[in-house]
C-alpha cells in the first residue's frame, strides 16, 4: 500500500467520523436503543470482508475462519435490521380519541 493510499483512507476515516458525530448528535434520546441496534447492523458490513475470505477458499484455515466470520456477521445484519424495525414500529403518538378526555 502506497503512502498516498494510506492518506486517502485516513481522509475517509476522519471525514466519516466527524460526519457520524454530527449526524448522531441529533438523534433523539428516545431512540438511543434503536440507534445502537441500527449502527450495529451497519457495522456488520464487515460481512463484505468475511465473504471475500470465505469465497476465495485459499487455505483450510482461512476458509474455516471466513465461514465463522460470515455466520457471525450475517446474524448481526439480519437480527440488527429486523429488531430495529420491530422496535421502531412500537413508537406511536397518542391516538386522537384518547386525547385529554375527562370522565
Amino acid at each position: 500500500m502506497t503512502l498516498q493510499e494510506i492518506l486517502s483512507n485516513l481522509y475517509v476515516f476522519v471525514l466519516a467520523t466527524f460526519l457520524g458525530l454530527e449526524v448522531i448528535r441529533r438523534v433523539s434520546p428516545l431512540l438511543h436503543t434503536p440507534l445502537m441496534s441500527l449502527t450495529n447492523a451497519i457495522s456488520a458490513i464487515s460481512l463484505v470482508g468475511s465473504l471475500v475470505i470465505l469465497g476465495a477458499q485459499e487455505t483450510t484455515l482461512t476458509t474455516i475462519l471466513g465461514a465463522l466470520a460470515v455466520t457471525a456477521s450475517t446474524i448481526n445484519v439480519v437480527s440488527g435490521f429486523l429488531i430495529t424495525d420491530r422496535m421502531l414500529k412500537m413508537f406511536k403518538r397518542r391516538e386522537p380519541s384518547e386525547r385529554g378526555k375527562s370522565s
Binding site: 475517509v12 460526519l19 469465497g55 485459499e58 455466520t71
Partner: protein
C-alpha cells in the same frame, strides 16, 4: 476497469451514502423506519457488489453460512422479548468483534504464507490493532451478556491488585503487537497475542457492575465500530472504513452521554469498580419509612391532577410496563395529566426505558427527558417511582460524601407527594441509601412492581 469492478465500486459508494442517510433519518421517530430501509438497501447492494468480485471462486460455503446466519438472526429479532434488548445488543457487539478478529487473523495467515511483502509496517500495525480490539470486544461483550442475563454475578467481581493485573496483561499484549508489527514473520506469537486479547476482554468487564452497563455497552459498541474501521484499512475497503467510523462515533457519543449522566469519567467506569456494597452502606441506621396500601395509593393518585412516572430497571425486571400502561390509561381517562420522566442511564442500556414503554403502547410524546421533566416536577402532584433508585436519590445533589455526588438526577423529591414502588428496603446497585425514601412526603409501596401495579389498577378500575 472492468464492468464488474465499476459495479462493485459504485455499489459501495451508494451503500456508504445510504448508511449516512439511514442514521440521519433515524434522528426522529417519523422518519426512523425509512432509515432502516435505507440501511437494508445499502447492505444488500454492498453484498451484491462483493459477491461479484473475481476473487470469489466458490459460492457453496457462502450460501450455507448466509443461510445459517439468517436462520439464527430471524428468531433473535422476532422472538426476543423487549426486556432482553440489552442482552441482544451485547451479544451482537460480541459477534461483530469476533467477525473482525477472525478476518484479521485470516488475512495475517494468508499474507504471511503467500504474499509476505504485503505485511508492511503500517498494515501490520493496523492489523494488530484490529485483532486486539476485535477479540477483546468479543469476550468483553460476552461477559456483558452473561452479566445482563445473570449467568454470572452482576455485582462487580474485584480482587486486590486487579487494575495492576489488567494493565500488565494489556501491556504484554501491546508489546507483542509492536514486536509483530516490526517482525511480521514471527507467526508463532500470533496465537499468544489472540489469547491475551481474549483474556483482557474478560478481565476488563469482570469488575463492572450492573448499573454501569449502559456506559459499558456504549463503549463496546464504539470498540466494535473502530475495529471494523481498522479492518477497512487492512482490506483497503473504504466502505468498511466509513461504516465502522459511523458505528464508532455513535458508540462514542452514547458513552459520553452515559458518563455525563452519571457524572463519571471513562477511566472511572472501567477501573473504578463502582457498585460494590461498602460496609457503611450495609449497616445503615434504622430509620422509619411510611408505607401505603394500594387503596391509599389509589386515592392519592385519583386526587392528583398531574402525575410523573419515573421508571427504572426494576420495571424491566418485573416486566411491569404493560401494567404501567393500564394505569396510564385509567388516569388519563379521568383527565389526570400523566408524563414519564426518563433518566439517560435508567435501565441497562441507552434508551432502554423508552423502548419498553413504547412496547406497552405508551405514546412517545408522553416520554420526557431528564432536563424537561425536572422543570415540571415542582408543580407535579405525585411522582411515582417504579423500580428506579439511584437516579432519584437527592444525595447526588448535596451529599459530598455520597459515591453518586454530582450525578444529575430526576428531582422526584420536588413533587408534592412521592410514591416509590419497591420490592424491599435493600439498597440499589450502587449500594447507597436513598434518602428520598425517608422524606415526610414519601410513601413506600412495597411489593413486586407488576403485582403492586395490578392491585392499583384493580382498585382504581373499581372506583367509578
Amino acid at each position: 476497469m472492468s464492468a464488474q469492478a465499476i459495479f462493485t465500486q459504485t455499489s459501495y459508494i451508494v451503500a456508504a451514502a445510504l448508511f449516512i442517510l439511514s442514521l440521519k433519518w433515524l434522528s426522529a421517530v417519523p422518519t426512523a423506519r425509512r432509515g432502516v430501509i435505507a440501511g437494508e438497501v445499502g447492505m444488500i447492494l454492498a453484498i451484491a457488489g462483493t459477491l461479484l468480485l473475481p476473487q470469489i471462486v466458490s459460492y457453496k460455503w457462502i450460501v450455507v453460512t448466509l443461510l445459517i446466519g439468517t436462520a439464527i438472526g430471524i428468531p433473535i429479532a422476532y422472538l426476543m422479548p423487549m426486556t432482553h434488548v440489552p442482552q441482544r445488543t451485547a451479544l451482537s457487539h460480541s459477534f461483530g468483534g469476533l467477525a473482525v478478529g477472525l478476518v484479521g487473523t485470516a488475512k495475517y495467515y494468508l499474507w504471511h504464507e503467500h504474499e509476505p511483502e504485503r505485511l508492511t509496517t503500517f498494515i501490520m500495525a493496523v492489523l494488530c490493532f484490529e485483532v486486539l480490539l476485535g477479540f477483546l470486544t468479543f469476550t468483553g461483550s460476552l461477559m456483558a451478556f452473561g452479566k445482563l442475563q445473570e449467568l454470572i454475578p452482576t455485582r462487580p467481581i474485584v480482587y486486590r491488585g486487579q487494575n495492576f493485573v489488567n494493565l500488565s496483561l494489556l501491556a504484554v499484549a501491546i508489546a507483542i503487537g509492536v514486536y509483530l508489527t516490526v517482525n511480521p514473520s514471527q507467526i508463532q506469537l500470533f496465537p499468544i497475542y489472540i489469547a491475551l486479547a481474549l483474556a483482557f476482554g474478560v478481565l476488563l468487564i469482570m469488575p463492572i457492575g450492573g448499573a454501569d452497563m449502559p456506559t459499558v455497552i456504549a463503549l463496546l459498541n464504539s470498540y466494535a465500530g473502530i475495529s471494523a474501521s481498522a479492518m477497512g484499512f487492512v482490506l483497503q475497503n473504504k466502505l468498511l472504513i466509513i461504516a465502522g467510523a459511523l458505528d464508532g462515533s455513535s458508540g462514542f457519543i452514547l458513552s459520553i452521554i452515559m458518563c455525563k449522566a452519571m457524572n463519571r469519567s471513562f477511566t472511572n467506569v472501567l477501573f473504578g469498580a463502582f457498585g460494590q456494597v461498602s460496609p457503611q452502606a450495609l449497616k445503615a441506621e434504622e430509620r422509619t419509612v411510611r408505607s401505603a396500601t394500594p387503596e391509599e395509593a389509589a386515592d392519592i393518585l385519583l386526587a392528583a391532577s398531574s402525575v410523573v412516572v419515573i421508571p427504572g430497571y426494576g420495571m424491566a425486571v418485573a416486566q411491569a410496563q404493560h401494567k404501567v400502561r393500564e394505569l396510564f390509561d385509567l388516569l388519563t381517562r379521568r383527565g389526570i395529566d400523566v408524563k414519564f420522566g426518563i433518566h439517560p442511564v435508567a435501565g441497562r442500556m441507552p434508551g432502554h426505558m423508552n423502548v419498553l414503554l413504547a412496547e406497552a403502547d405508551i405514546p412517545y410524546d408522553r416520554l420526557y427527558e431528564m432536563e424537561d421533566i425536572n422543570s415540571e416536577l415542582p408543580h407535579t402532584d405525585v411522582a411515582l417511582v417504579i423500580g428506579a433508585n439511584d437516579v432519584v436519590n437527592p444525595a447526588a445533589k448535596h451529599d459530598k460524601n455520597s459515591p453518586i455526588y454530582g450525578m444529575p438526577i430526576i428531582e422526584a423529591d420536588k413533587a408534592r407527594t412521592v410514591m416509590v414502588i419497591k420490592r424491599s428496603m435493600n439498597p440499589g446497585f450502587a449500594g447507597i441509601e436513598n434518602e428520598l425514601y425517608y422524606m415526610d412526603k414519601t410513601l413506600m409501596l412495597f411489593g413486586d412492581a407488576k403485582a403492586y401495579l395490578s392491585e392499583l389498577v384493580k382498585v382504581i378500575g373499581q372506583e367509578k
